[in-house]
């Protein structure tokens, strides 16, 4: 039995095109992310651009460094570190100090990806692990929001962006005051809904604004429309499992709707839940991370619904206004188990196999 069995590759027709390779898929995800990045730069100016650039460089640099340390050929070329870098930057507040962003990139790649053995072996989404780390390390900086569409955003940085490494971020309160953007309270719509006084707070942000991304928030988590369009491109090219975002959105909607029906005066509408915060970005680009999600069709539905459900629960009852990040990390952790439980029946075997055995 020492001989190698001959390999026969079976494919269904048409036999014209090759199957997609990993870096091909990854490259297309990057293409799909570019419009989102461009919009965030348009929205928040050069601070967002610097943030994207630094997070990108940190992720690529970390991956390259660890490949060299372990005497392996560098894996930077497969574009997965690029995606992690862009996604990480998109989840951070636009005025986030650059040195903290670089740290987040380093921790995300080193801790969540390289330590597990690189691409294809990571249990958690590296970008989210990086973000979770800085969320725990710098709780104040990561909840300091600046208004979108500030007048001088293409010529000057948000003051906190250029903070010297290892020092406290420069206070932005005065800067925000000088801008005098009407009605800006330093809080995202979600934070307003959670910590604002009275149940009417969530009504103040119109759904259209949320949908188009005209509100304060993380660099890339504000325009639901754009993200959906980019996601549709990936689904159209069959580079993403459409079930994951669909299941996650469905899970969020149903859970939020349930609470809304229970008590409309104290719980926000399901539509608000869908279009606020990082839910769209999370559903389309993060939960769908190929290596950290289940592989079985049923498992994918369970995975998406679970994340959607958890997101609403964390948002409504947790200590933080935003729950997408932790919900996805939790889903990542559960996905191997989901895969095991939902193994499809092997063709030709009976579903009641155990009975026959005994």
């Amino acid at each position: 039995m020492a001989e190698k069995a001959p390999m026969i590759e079976l494919r269904t027709s048409p036999h014209v095109r090759r199957a997609q390779s990993v870096d091909q898929i990854m490259r297309n995800v990057v293409y799909a992310l570019l419009p989102v990045c461009a919009f965030s730069v348009y929205q928040f100016g050069i601070s967002a651009f610097a943030l994207l650039l630094i997070a990108l460089l940190a992720c690529i640099g970390t991956e390259h460094l660890f490949c060299r340390l372990s005497d392996k050929p560098t894996t930077v070329g497969d574009y997965s570190a690029v995606i992690s870098g862009l996604l990480l930057a998109l989840t951070l507040p636009p005025g986030f100090p650059l040195w903290m962003a670089a740290l987040a990139g380093f921790v995300g790649i080193a801790l969540a990806k390289v330590m597990f053995g690189g691409i294809g072996l990571n249990v958690f989404n590296p970008a989210l692990v990086g973000r979770a780390f800085v969320q725990a390390a710098f709780p104040v900086a990561i909840t300091t929001w600046t208004p979108a569409f500030a007048p001088g955003r293409f010529t000057e940085f948000i003051p906190s962006t250029l903070t010297l490494p290892f020092t406290e971020p420069v206070a932005v309160t005065q800067w925000v005051k000088d801008l005098a953007v009407d009605g800006f309270t330093g809080a995202t719509p979600l934070a307003l809904q959670k910590f604002g006084n009275g149940a009417l707070a969530h009504v103040t942000t119109s759904t259209t604004d949320l949908f188009m991304g005209m509100t304060a928030g993380s660099a890339g988590e504000t325009s639901a429309l754009l993200i959906l369009v980019c996601g549709a491109y990936l689904i159209f090219r069959r580079m993403m499992d459409w079930r994951i975002p669909a299941a996650m959105i469905l899970g969020t909607f149903v859970t939020a709707w349930g609470f809304f029906l229970l008590d409309p005066s104290s719980y926000p509408t399901p539509v608000f839940m869908l279009f606020s915060g990082g839910l769209m970005l999370g559903a389309v680009f993060m939960a769908s991370d190929m290596t950290a999600s289940p592989v079985t069709p049923v498992g994918v539905w369970i995975y998406g619904l679970l994340i959607g459900f958890l997101t609403v629960i964390i948002r409504l009852f947790g200590g933080l206004p935003e729950g997408v990040m932790y919900a996805i990390l939790f889903g990542n952790a559960a996905s191997p188990l989901i895969s095991v439980v939902t193994q499809p029946r092997v063709y030709g075997t009976s579903g009641k196999k155990r009975k026959a055995d005994s």
């Binding site: 903290m100 725990a136 390390a137 710098f138 709780p139 900086a141 290892f166 020092t167 406290e168």
Partner: protein
């Protein structure tokens, strides 16, 4: 029980150093991780915990070693636990009396020394088979090794997490502390980083040894 006492090897530097470095309870044997992760959010806490554990180690090793011929094999674990618990209670009172602040910071983890497997391990595998002085030297080595490991964790976590060492500010007012480092996850991160460093050092040393062997063998 015929020949042990007379045939014991003499105390060497190794008796002490083994626990300190080669068999370091935290970094090599991965024992006693509960206090190592839980209370090392500052260097002072680390030293307090290490000191308390060392005291319990010394006391219990001495008593177990003295009574080793008296304790029947069947009830030895029960006896060791009672002895260890005694010293834990004493050290609990002592820390409470010495410093309220340290006592509050260490919390329930002083009492939990009683289930620290480092101590029971020493009693079972060393003190119950060796003479008093040798047991004491060995216990001291393990205790110092444990304290050293805790201090390694505690100082890194305190420097990053609050920008201070032993309560003295290191970086000035504008330093941004990494809050996560003094929270429980920080304990895991720092422990992991130290383990990585130790494993890397060990591997490099081994590689050097094999290389030397090869170079020696090659001409011959």
């Amino acid at each position: 029980m015929a020949n042990p006492a007379s045939k014991q090897k003499p105390i060497t530097a190794d008796t002490f150093l083994r626990g300190l470095w080669e068999e370091n309870p935290v970094f090599v044997m991965l024992l006693g991780l509960c206090p190592a992760l839980a209370v090392t959010n500052s260097a002072i806490n680390a030293i307090g915990m290490g000191g308390a554990t060392t005291f319990v180690l010394l006391g219990s090793s001495a008593l177990v070693s003295l009574l080793r011929k008296l304790i029947p094999k069947q009830v030895r674990i029960a006896s060791y636990i009672v002895i260890i618990a005694t010293f834990v209670t004493i050290v609990d009172y002592a820390i409470h009396a010495l410093s309220l602040e340290l006592y509050n910071a260490l919390g329930a983890f002083i009492q939990l020394i009683v289930v620290n497997c480092v101590i029971l391990g020493r009693a079972e595998s060393f003190a119950s088979k060796h003479r008093l002085t040798k047991s004491l030297v060995n216990a001291l080595g393990v205790g110092v090794g444990f304290t050293f490991a805790l201090l390694c964790l505690g100082s890194v976590r305190e420097i990053l997490g609050s920008g201070t060492l032993f309560g003295f500010p290191l970086f000035g007012d504008s330093y941004q502390p990494w809050v996560v480092m003094i929270l429980p996850p920080g304990g895991f991160f720092v422990t992991g980083a130290w383990l990585l460093l130790f494993a890397w050092l060990k591997e490099r040393k081994q590689r050097k040894v094999t290389q030397e062997k090869e170079t020696v063998h090659a001409p011959g």
